[in-house]
Each structure stands twice: as C-alpha cells, then as structure tokens.
C-alpha cells in the first residue's frame, strides 16, 4: 500500500519538477522515488515498517495490497527502478515520460491488489492509458505513431471485452467482489453445472487480460507495438504489464477455482499454442527486437502454467519467475538498445565481447538465465514452475519443456556474432572498463542472476 502511495504522489511531483528544472532532475527524482517505494513496500511486507494508517483509506472489499501482493509490488517497483535507470532516454524533453511511467506502475499495482472488478478495471485503465501515450512518445518516428494507434485500438477493444465479461459475471453471481464470487461458486458447485452466463463471463474477462499479456491467439499487436515504441517503453510493456497481468489472471482464476476443471479445457490449448507458437515464430525473426517480442510471448505461455495450479500455495513460484523474467528481459533489451543500428538485425552484436567485456558477460548471463540453463535464476524459476505444475498437468509441462528446447535455437543466435571478431580492429579505448553508475547497475543485474542461481536459499529470505 505504501509503494503505490509514494509513486502516485511522486508522479505528480515529477510533473511539477519538469516545469522549471532540467530533464535529468525529473528522471533522477522518479528513480529515487521508485527505489524508496520498492524498499518501503518490501519492509512493509517483512513487517519491519508499519503503515497501517493507509489501509483505513480504502475499503477492504475493493483493494487489498498486503502479503504477497505487497511483495509483488515491491518487485514491480524494483524492476521499474532498473528500467528507469538503465534504459537511456532517447526523448528530448522530459518530465512527462517518467511521470507517465510512474502512473502506469501505480496502475499495475492497483490491478494486482484488486479485490473487486471495478477496481480491476480501474487499475487496468491506469496501467494502459499512460502506455498508449508512451508508445507514441517518439513523435518523429512513423513506427512509434503506428504502435501507439495500434496499441490504443487493441487495448480499447480488449477493455471493452473485459467489461462485457464483467457484466456477465455480475449477471451470473450478483456480485463483483472476487472473494464473494469464490464463496458463491463454491456453494454453487454442489448443484451441478454452472450457468452459461458465468462461463461466458469468465472467458471474456480472460480474453481481455490475455490480450494485455499477449498470449497467442491475441498476440498480433505485440511484435509491432514493441518494435515501434521506444526501447524503454517496450521493455516496460514486456515486464511490468506482463507481470501484473499474470498476477491478476491468477487472482481471478483463484476466485473461479471451483470452475477450474472446466476452465482448464480451454486454458490448455491456449497455453500449448502460446508456448509453441511464440517459440517457433521467434526462430524466424531477423530483427532482434521482434525476436525479444516473440520470446516474451513464449514466456507468457510458460506463465500460463501458473493458471493451472492452485494460486495461494504456489504464489512464490510466480514471484520467482517474474523476478527472473524481469531481470533477463531488461538485460537483453538494454543490450539491444546499446548496439541497435539502422537495420536492427542480429549482426549488431558483432564482436560485442571484444568491444565491451561487461556487456559480453551480461549477454551470456542474461541469455542463459532467460533460456533456463542451470546456475542462473532463470533455471531456478523454471524448475519451480515446471515441477509444481507437473503434479497437476503433465502434458502441459511436457509442451513447456519442448518449448524450452526450441528456444535455444534463437536465444543463442547473438553468440554467433558476439564472438566473431572478423572485421573488428581493437582500439585503445574499446576495452577499458569504466566504473560509472550505469556499469554498477549492470553488475547488479549480473550478480543477482548468478548468485540466486547458485544459492537459491536467498529467495527464502527475500520472500
């Protein structure tokens, strides 16, 4: 609860700062606020600090940011902090973009904490509307404008579908509170079949959210939007929107748990085509950014496994996976951003390892982590997800394993160029290691990824 309060106020503060201070001010302020919000959320989760006063402002049946939601919001804020700091801002003027990112983040946290469909809708809109603007923030670029328009239209449609689903659910149960819905459904489950209205409602709500997280039949917007939007915004969409979207999906399916035997029937095909489709389509991509977009689609598929397993017991699994996915995606997007040239093809990585050792190591570690190779956090996350899902649905896990095997084919493509020194001549300043703030952040990314991979017990202290 404290996190969302800080960054919402912080967003307004940042906007005002932009009036008469240079752009760097607003960026640094928002980054600091994100760190502060993340830390205080984590302390609140651990019970070290207490902000009970804040809870009195919001009615409990609407919003509940405590427990794991609190942890997830701390994670989301930390990843937001990393994105804000690491990804360079290509935009000229500036307070509005950091401020919009803060607003969007606070929407994501409200979405995760929503206990009521109205709150859920509100969170989703606060998350999305700033993103429509941000996607088009590179105004001189035609692709960016296209991305904004496409994202806006798709987003508007998916929200409309979600609202229709909400109305159906209200028709079916007479309430919009997720806890009450769960209670009513568990009574109703003793009387046989569920009403068709409820089923349709659940499908429509899921479709609305699956649009946001770009699961396969609803993924068509995502590669284009990622490609068009500025890199900083693309990684923001890939990380923040996906993590909060999946947490919400898990929350909703938790309330609809009595219907799980029925909902599994259509979640499973979506999961299968998302994993296989995302991975197979990624192989053919020649542009790095589109490859990363499809890779994030395939990760949406792995995360769908989470819908199949009981929510409360396995919440740590989702937390770990989100953490590892966030770290890996941010690293890869950062490298893509640093070496991106006109054609944006894989050859941008040529001689990367000789040009900059730190970037080379980051590429290796991040790739291994996101591909799920042991000794990285990515493996721990994938292992936990697969082994807990294995008890509930073995065929889905087998599909996921096949998908992981396919993913090697495209994740390792940059290595082909990174170690290829042909046509590269060493200059004196090319290999010097500079210790500045940016390289410290990169080192943090590398160290977290490896240390948790080797000593996963650390996660128990974090969680």
């Amino acid at each position: 609860m404290i996190g969302v309060s800080i960054i919402f106020m912080g967003g307004i503060l940042t906007l005002f700062l932009g009036l008469n201070k240079p752009e760097q001010w607003s960026k640094n302020t928002s980054a600091l606020l994100l760190l502060l919000a993340s830390a205080s959320s984590w302390f609140e989760y651990k019970g070290i600090l207490n902000f009970d006063l804040l809870f009195k402002w919001v009615p409990q049946q609407m919003l509940d940011i405590s427990g794991t939601t609190e942890w997830m919001s701390a994670l989301l804020l930390f990843l937001g902090f990393m994105i804000m700091n690491i990804m360079p801002s290509n935009d000229k003027k500036g307070a509005d973009i950091p401020a919009l990112m803060l607003f969007s983040l606070s929407g994501g946290i409200l979405l995760m904490g929503a206990e009521h469909f109205v709150m859920l809708f509100l969170g989703l809109e606060i998350l999305s509307i700033p993103l429509f603007v941000l996607a088009g923030s590179n105004k001189d670029n035609l692709n960016s404008n296209e991305a904004a328009l496409k994202y806006f239209i798709m987003g508007a449609f998916s929200t409309a579908i979600l609202l229709l689903g909400t109305a159906f659910i209200y028709g079916g149960t007479g309430t919009l509170n997720l806890n009450e819905i769960q209670l009513k459904l568990s009574f109703a489950s003793h009387f046989g079949e569920f009403p068709i209205l409820l089923k349709a409602g659940l499908i429509l709500v899921s479709v609305g959210l699956l649009f946001k997280v770009s699961a396969v039949p609803f993924h068509f917007w995502s590669p284009d939007v990622y490609e068009g939007s500025p890199n900083r915004i693309a990684v923001f969409m890939a990380v923040i929107v996906k993590i909060s979207g999946f947490y919400t999906l898990g929350n909703i399916f938790n309330s609809f748990a009595p219907m799980s035997a029925w909902s599994e029937q259509w979640i499973l095909p979506i999961l299968g085509i998302t994993i296989l489709g995302g991975n197979i389509m990624a192989i053919g991509q020649s542009k790095v950014k589109r490859m990363l977009a499809y890779s994030s689609i395939s990760h949406a598929g792995y995360l769908l496994l989470f819908i199949l397993i009981p929510f409360e017991e396995n919440i740590n699994v989702l937390a770990t996976y989100s953490f590892s996915y966030g770290l890996g995606t941010i690293s890869l997007f950062y490298l893509m951003d640093q070496y991106s040239r006109e054609d944006k093809e894989f050859s941008m990585y040529t001689a990367l390892f000789s040009k900059n050792k730190l970037h080379g190591f980051l590429l290796i570690i991040a790739t291994l982590s996101i591909a799920g190779v042991p000794s990285t956090i990515g493996f721990i996350a994938k292992y936990q997800l697969f082994s807990s899902a294995f008890a509930y649905n073995q065929s889905a896990v087998l599909i996921a394993l096949v998908g992981s095997a396919i993913s090697i084919a495209y994740y390792f493509k940059p290595f082909k160029y990174a170690f290829d020194n042909s046509g590269f001549e060493k200059t004196d300043n090319s290999e010097r290691f500079e210790l500045n703030l940016n390289s410290v952040y990169l080192l943090i990314l590398i160290v977290i990824t490896v240390i948790i991979g080797i000593f996963p017990t650390i996660l128990e202290y974090l969680l």
Binding site: L368, V373, P374, F379, Y383, A405, I408, F412, F415, K416
Partner: protein, 482 residues
C-alpha cells in the same frame, strides 16, 4: 567440496590474472598439484563403497539438498578428470591460454560435481553446468562452421537434458517425502508403462551424450572443428558423464525398464561399433578418424554396461579411464602435429618418425593402446567387455569383436600414413616437433598406457566394490537379474 570450489577459484583467478599470468605452465602446475592432492585425499578418507556424504546441506528448500558422495567408480572418474585437466591445459598453444584456461577450470567444477552429486536436481545442474563452458570453448575457438556446429551440439544435448529433467521430476513426484535425494528416488517403484517413459528420458540424455549410434549426429563435426582442448574435454572426460549416468542414474533408478531397453540399447551400441569403425577407415582427416573411433569404442562400453554382469561393469569402468587417457593423448598428438606441420590431413603428412623420434614413440603408445594390443591399457578392459557380451549373446559378440580388427586397420593406417614413409608436402618436409616440456609431459602421459596395461588389477580393485554393490542392489532390492 574442495574439488568444486578450488577449480572455481582457479577459474576466477585465471580470468582476472589472464593478461598478467598467461603462462600455461603455471596454471597447469597449480591444477596438477591441487587435483591430485584433493583426489588422493578423498582416497585416504573413504573406502570404495558408498558411505556417508561428504557434504549434505539444504539447497533449495529442505527437499533438495547439496549432497555429495564418493565411491570407487566416482573416485576413478574424479582421478580421470582432475588428472587429465592439467595435461589438457598444458597442451594449449601459448596465444590462447588466457581465453581457454578459465573455461577449462569452470568445466572441471561441473564435471567433478556430476560425478559426486547424489541428489537428482544437483546432478542435473552440474550436468548442464559442464555443458556451458564447452559450448563457449567450441563456439569461440572452432576453426570453421562455428555457430552451426555448436548450436547443433547444444540443442542435441539440451533436448536430452530436458528429457532427463522431465523424468527426474516425475520420479520426484512419486517419492514418499517429495525429495530429490538419491536414496528416495531409488526407493520409488514404478509400474512397467511408467518405467518405459521415465527410462526413455534418462536414456535419451545419456545416449546423446555418449553418443550411441543414431544419436551421434552432433559428434563428428564438433570433435573435428573444435580446438584440440575442446575435443579432448568432450571425448576424454565429458562423454564419461553419459556412461556414468547410465550406470548410476539409469540402471539403479529405473531398473524396471531394463528388460525392455537392454536388447535395444545393446543392438544400437553394436551397430555403432561397426558403423563407427567402417567410417573411420575411409577418413583422411586425423581428427575425424579419432572421432569415429571414439564412437566405436564407447559403443562397446555401453554394450558392456547393459549386459549387467560384473565383468561388463568392471570392464566398462576400466575402459572409461583408459579411453579418456588414449583419446586425450591422440588429440594432443594431432594438435602437436597440426601446430608444427599446419595440417592434419593424412595426404599431406608422412615421415614424421624420421624427424621426431620421441614424439613418435609417445604417439605409437597411444595408438597401440587404442588398438588394445596385449599389455597396453586398452586390452584388459576390452577383453572383459567382450567376454561379458559373449555371455549375453554370442551373435552380438561376433559383430562387436570386429572392433578389434577394424580398429587395428584404421589406427595403423593413421600411424603409417602420418609417421612413416616420406613427407608428401615439400613445404613442411623438414620440420620436426621440438623436444620441450610439453613433449615430456606428452611422453609421461603415454607411459601410463603401458603402466595400466601391465597392472590393470589395481584399478579394478578400486571399481570392483562399487560395481559389486550396484549389482547387488539391482538383484536384492529391485529383483532384476533373478
């Protein structure tokens, strides 16, 4: 535990100090002293049967533990790994030292871990960990077709590993306490259909790694284009992971499926023996000959393991060590030839014997070891393997026995065309391999060929107790072989 963190420290040290200390002898010396001390130290404190763990601490929750144990088989493989790695480091050419050495040390961590791990997930992690450095060694330093070869190698082995992971997770779900520990996985009883599936996961991983006949497609090109050190690590040590896994993790964990898979795997292995040997005869590239001969030799070891007799298992254990030594020696010799004569094509070479006598003696010892002439190290192991196969099925041994003849054909052809006669290439006719510290180490390694050949019983004494234990467990606990 020291066997894991000391190589790790060495890997970090050689990364940091790579520029300053780019002398391979320093790293080779440190690694030689550290490796032998640590392995011999293990010998002193353990009998050669499984006893209490060296380390046993919780790693991920309470159920997945960092559990290491040592028995005779493991000890022998640790000796092989830590004994050969100093030689492999010493075999580099000076200009690549700072790039390859850290990766070799990192690989040592993974390999030591694989052989000692007694927890399912830990085994999987070390299994993958050993694969990452070798991927980068082959990717960065291969001669040609770098990406194509290495990605094929990586995907093949990764698919196998994932299948093994699926099997491990399945077994994990069946254990009483939801635990990955070896003892709990061992206690699981599967029905026939389950065991076929679980067994296929393990077998896929191990047969790809070994490699056995239809799964070998990654192997020849990787061996040929990789730098000599990569080929040595891959064939000398890494494929022993597969054979070790077959004994420790497949036979004991899914013995219910042995009845089904035994004839299939033995058949494939025997096909591989003849197939590898026949192809090797027609090759001109020396490395490619060794690659296919390796396919043929490990086929025999695999077949021996699957006969489930004490002779087969002891022979396999001995032959794992011996094949490691021989193949590392042969690749080292080829590396030396290639550095001096800039070619490893049999059509370009010849007359080396008249120029570099000491080198030829060493190389010849490895050749006869590979051919398995009596009193060389290859003979006892191969004899025991063929004997066990004879007891299993007489028809099989007729084909498997061809390896003795065919191996002599291609190895002697290799020796004859490269060493004897006149040099065929005018430009490098008069060069010779200089006598230096590297050549002396090469000769020291080659003397072990004779030593093991004359005193094989000392090594068999080490593996026999653990192989005996494995067979007893198969017989008593699981009721196989009855």
């Amino acid at each position: 535990m020291e066997l894991l963190y000391i190589p790790l420290i060495l890997a970090l040290a050689s990364t940091m100090l790579g520029k300053m200390l780019s002398n391979k002898w320093i790293w080779s010396g440190i690694s030689l002293i550290a490796g032998f001390t640590l392995v011999l130290n293990l010998h002193c404190s353990h009998n050669f049967i499984l006893s209490e763990s060296i380390v046993d601490i919780p790693w991920l929750g309470d159920n997945i533990r960092f559990n290491l144990k040592v028995d005779g088989l493991t000890w022998l493989l640790l000796l092989l790994t830590n004994g050969l790695i100093p030689f492999i480091i010493a075999s580099q050419s000076e200009d690549k030292v700072s790039k390859i050495t850290p990766l070799i040390f990192l690989m040592q961590v993974g390999l030591n871990g694989v052989f000692m791990a007694f927890d399912g997930l830990l085994f999987y992690i070390f299994w993958e960990l050993a694969m990452i450095p070798i991927y980068f060694i082959t990717l960065i330093h291969s001669e040609r077709e770098r990406f194509k070869t290495t990605i094929r190698f990586f995907i093949y082995t990764f698919v196998g590993s994932l299948a093994m992971l699926a099997s491990l997770i399945y077994l994990y779900g069946k254990t009483d306490y939801s635990s990955f520990s070896y003892d709990n996985l061992f206690a699981v009883n599967l029905n026939y259909a389950e065991s076929i599936w679980v067994g296929s996961g393990f077998l896929l991983a191990f047969l790809i790694k070994i490699p056995v006949f239809p799964f070998h497609l990654w192997q020849p090109n990787t061996y040929v284009w990789a730098p000599s050190q990569g080929s040595m690590l891959l064939s000398g040590i890494m494929l022993k992971m597969g054979l070790y896994g077959l004994i420790r993790w497949y036979l004991l964990l899914v013995p219910e499926s042995i009845d089904f898979y035994q004839p299939i795997v033995i058949c494939l292995a025997v096909i591989g023996i003849v197939y590898g040997a026949l192809i090797a005869i027609r090759q001109d590239d020396m490395k490619r000959i060794i690659a296919y001969s390796s396919l043929s030799h490990v086929g025999l070891i695999t077949a021996g393991i699957l006969t489930l007799s004490i002779d087969g298992l002891n022979g396999a254990g001995l032959q794992m060590l011996v094949h490691g030594v021989n193949v590392v020696g042969l690749f080292w010799g080829i590396g030396l030839i290639e550095r001096t004569y800039k070619s490893r094509d049999l059509n370009d070479l010849g007359g080396i014997a008249s120029k570099s006598k000491w080198f030829t003696i060493g190389f010849f010892l490895f050749v006869i070891g590979s051919v398995a002439a009596p009193l060389s190290n290859g003979f006892p192991g191969e004899f025991m393997l063929l004997k066990s196969l004879f007891n299993y099925n007489t028809t099989m041994v007729v084909f498997a026995g061809l390896t003795v003849i065919l191996c002599a054909v291609y190895m002697l052809r290799l020796f004859q065309f490269s060493m004897l006669g006149e040099g065929k290439n005018e430009s490098n006719k008069d060069m010779c391999i200089s006598v230096n510290l590297e050549l002396i180490l090469f000769l020291i390694l080659s003397i072990t060929v004779i030593l093991i050949g004359v005193f094989p019983q000392n090594l068999i004494d080490i593996i026999n107790p653990s192989m005996d234990q494995i067979l007893k467990e198969l017989l008593n606990v699981k009721g196989v072989l009855s």
